[in-house]
């Protein structure tokens, strides 16, 4: 198929449709609005349902109902709206329902701004809502990668019966790039969901639930969930290592920040500095083995983020504090420049302190 020029939000919508998603429930918020705009037109064309809910809270609970009824279903929002969805997300995780949730992050805290940011990393990878649960978190860096990851996102959700978050940012949502969609429109056969509540015809009733009043049962439920997360950690990490062989300075970033860092790495290499980039694609599970391999010869590690320092904590933890890990970030909708990142690399190369 020929390449088409599309906004990230729209490409995401088309990729979701091609991944077999037929149900979308959402509430307007900038900078993700082009996604619901696109699906409001597109989903009815394929016999699907687009519904603008009364709030993010209602939207995520509609997702709960639809996922519980066996559908491939998605919602999207941006940071303040994602905060409102946390109640639903913990219920969805507790009831083990598959769905995809998109967060095109913007600056915070509070109402913050409508400009791009990456300051919801903790919220996305550490739980966000109450209770011991995890989302699978995917962080595409290009619009092509958004398209390529959507099928995977829905498949992972179904395979593990777990909510999957696409953690993007306002840049990825708003920018246009040429993308190519896969030929095959959706999996030929979607996985069977014998647990779904579809009417108890000729079988015992199914229950979609996260309530376990007996503490022993709830502990067992939590242990089952943890065993599932352990399996996800063991099997589902994804990452890109760029020029990390022999790299003495390894930059770490995800999403849009990683693209800026990559450009800085190229410029550093041109100046003879052995720099590389490690880009986690799954933020949960964090690609621990991969980052350790990428930083094997690193003397310094630098995370580049559009936050005040969130990813950096996981980088230090996953490198087991064996390498100095520095942080450079901009916040509030400000975006790191390649020049500024290059300055940081040069200071590290010279053995100096970071500003």
């Amino acid at each position: 198929m020929a390449k088409v020029l599309m906004k990230g939000n729209e490409a995401l919508g088309e990729a979701a449709v091609r991944a077999g998603c037929r149900y979308f429930f959402g509430y307007p918020i900038t900078p993700q609005n082009e996604l619901p705009h696109y699906l409001a037109r597109r989903l009815p064309e394929v016999g699907g349902v687009f519904l603008q809910a009364e709030s993010e809270v209602a939207a995520i609970n509609m997702v709960y109902g639809a996922a519980g009824a066996g559908a491939r279903v998605m919602t999207s929002s941006s940071s303040p709206g994602i905060s409102l969805k946390q109640e639903g997300l913990t219920y969805i995780a507790g009831a083990e329902l598959p769905c995809v949730v998109v967060n095109m992050q913007r600056g915070g805290p509070g109402l913050g701004s409508i400009q791009p940011a990456q300051s919801d990393y903790f919220q996305a990878v550490k739980g966000g809502g109450h209770g011991d649960y995890r989302l699978i978190v995917l962080a595409p860096a290009t619009i092509q990668e958004i398209v390529d990851l959507m099928g995977k996102a829905f498949d992972l959700a179904d395979q593990y019966r777990n909510p999957v978050m696409i953690l993007g940012d306002g840049i990825l949502g708003q920018m246009m790039e040429a993308v190519e969609f896969p030929e095959q429109e959706q999996p030929a056969v979607l996985p069977a969901k014998p647990w779904a509540s579809t009417g108890a015809k000729g079988r015992r009733p199914n229950l979609i639930n996260s309530l376990y009043l007996n503490p022993e049962e709830l502990e067992q439920h939590n242990e089952r969930l943890q065993a599932k997360y352990a399996k996800i950690i063991a099997n589902e990490t994804m990452a890109e290592s760029y020029l990390t062989d022999g790299a003495e300075i390894v930059l770490v970033g995800y999403g849009s920040s990683a693209r800026i860092a990559k450009a800085a790495v190229d410029q550093a290499r041109a100046q003879g500095i052995k720099a590389g980039l490690f880009r986690p694609i799954t933020l949960f599970p964090f690609p621990k083995k991969e980052i350790q391999a990428a930083c094997r010869q690193a003397r310094q590690v630098l995370t580049v983020e559009m936050s005040m320092g969130q990813l950096v904590e996981d980088v230090r933890y996953n490198l087991e504090f064996k390498v100095p890990v520095h942080f450079y970030g901009r916040a509030g909708g400000m975006v790191p420049t390649t020049r500024a990142v290059l300055e940081q690399i040069k200071r590290l190369a010279e053995g100096g302190d970071l500003a």
């Binding site: 809270v57 109902g65 219920y91 009417g199 108890a200 009733p205 639930n209």
Partner: protein, 249 residues
């Protein structure tokens, strides 16, 4: 031998956790009888609330989903949009529906979601131990209105049936009570109509059922029935509030 009374197939054999004198049991039974009579048990999905009836999934012999507090109409919307040919109902109390879930019920009704809501109003939070509800009557003593609900500081009780009846998406709205056999019969008729309205695709349907809470009202079951008649029915008049015949597109 003719069987004149039996457990509806839509009820399980589980013993309920409801307090003596609570009318949830009667209301569960009426819903179950209606589902049996309409022959839709295997085509129905119920949504439970948070509150006293949180465990209703143990008692209804149906596919069920447990919703977060107040969100049952949103969950039911998600189910119904995926399975438009199935019957979907929510079973909610007054804290769940009229307070924390006020937005969800109003917008499900406004959209004309083809779902049915059974709204059990006992004018108090039962499960959490007798706090003031949006439906608590003026002067009614609760744990959080210990001197009686005061309009100046705590506002006025909400008449949900009348409020929802103003919405164009609502096809059938009624308020009933189950304090005596005649009213139980009328309640069953209203619940049946509500499910039939859903089956005919006319729009949103809701039956508000006035209910007793002897435990948290601090009354005996018989006193509670009298209190309901003397105090609740004058403020919450019974009857059909909205009945739209045509199917709205």
């Amino acid at each position: 031998m003719i069987t004149v009374f039996a457990r509806p197939e839509t009820l399980t054999t589980a013993k309920t956790h409801y307090c003596p004198g609570c009318t949830h049991g009667i209301i569960h039974r009426l819903v179950a009888e209606v589902i049996d009579e309409l022959g839709i048990r295997e085509e129905t999905i119920g949504v439970c609330p948070v509150g006293c009836s949180v465990l209703a999934y143990h008692y209804f012999n149906l596919d069920m989903q447990e919703a977060a507090h107040g969100r049952a109409p949103a969950v039911a919307t998600g189910i119904k949009r995926v399975l438009p040919d199935k019957t979907v109902f929510t079973y909610q109390g007054d804290g769940d529906l009229a307070s924390i879930g006020a937005a969800e019920i109003v917008h499900a009704a406004a959209r004309g979601e083809k779902i049915t809501t059974i709204f059990v109003n006992n004018a108090i939070y039962g499960m959490t131990g007798g706090q003031m509800a949006p439906t608590t009557l003026l002067g009614q003593e609760t744990m959080t209105s210990p001197h009686g609900r005061d309009a100046v500081t705590q506002g006025y009780p909400v008449r949900m049936a009348e409020m929802l009846a103003t919405l164009d998406g609502a096809a059938f709205i009624a308020r009933v009570s189950v304090h005596n056999p005649q009213e139980v019969a009328k309640a069953k008729k209203a619940i049946k109509t509500a499910f039939e309205v859903q089956l005919s695709g006319k729009g949103f349907s809701l039956v508000e059922v006035l209910s007793t809470c002897p435990t948290n009202w601090g009354l005996t079951p018989l006193e509670a029935i009298k209190w309901l008649q003397d105090n609740m029915i004058p403020y919450y008049p019974l009857g059909v509030k909205k009945e739209r015949q045509e199917v709205k597109d």
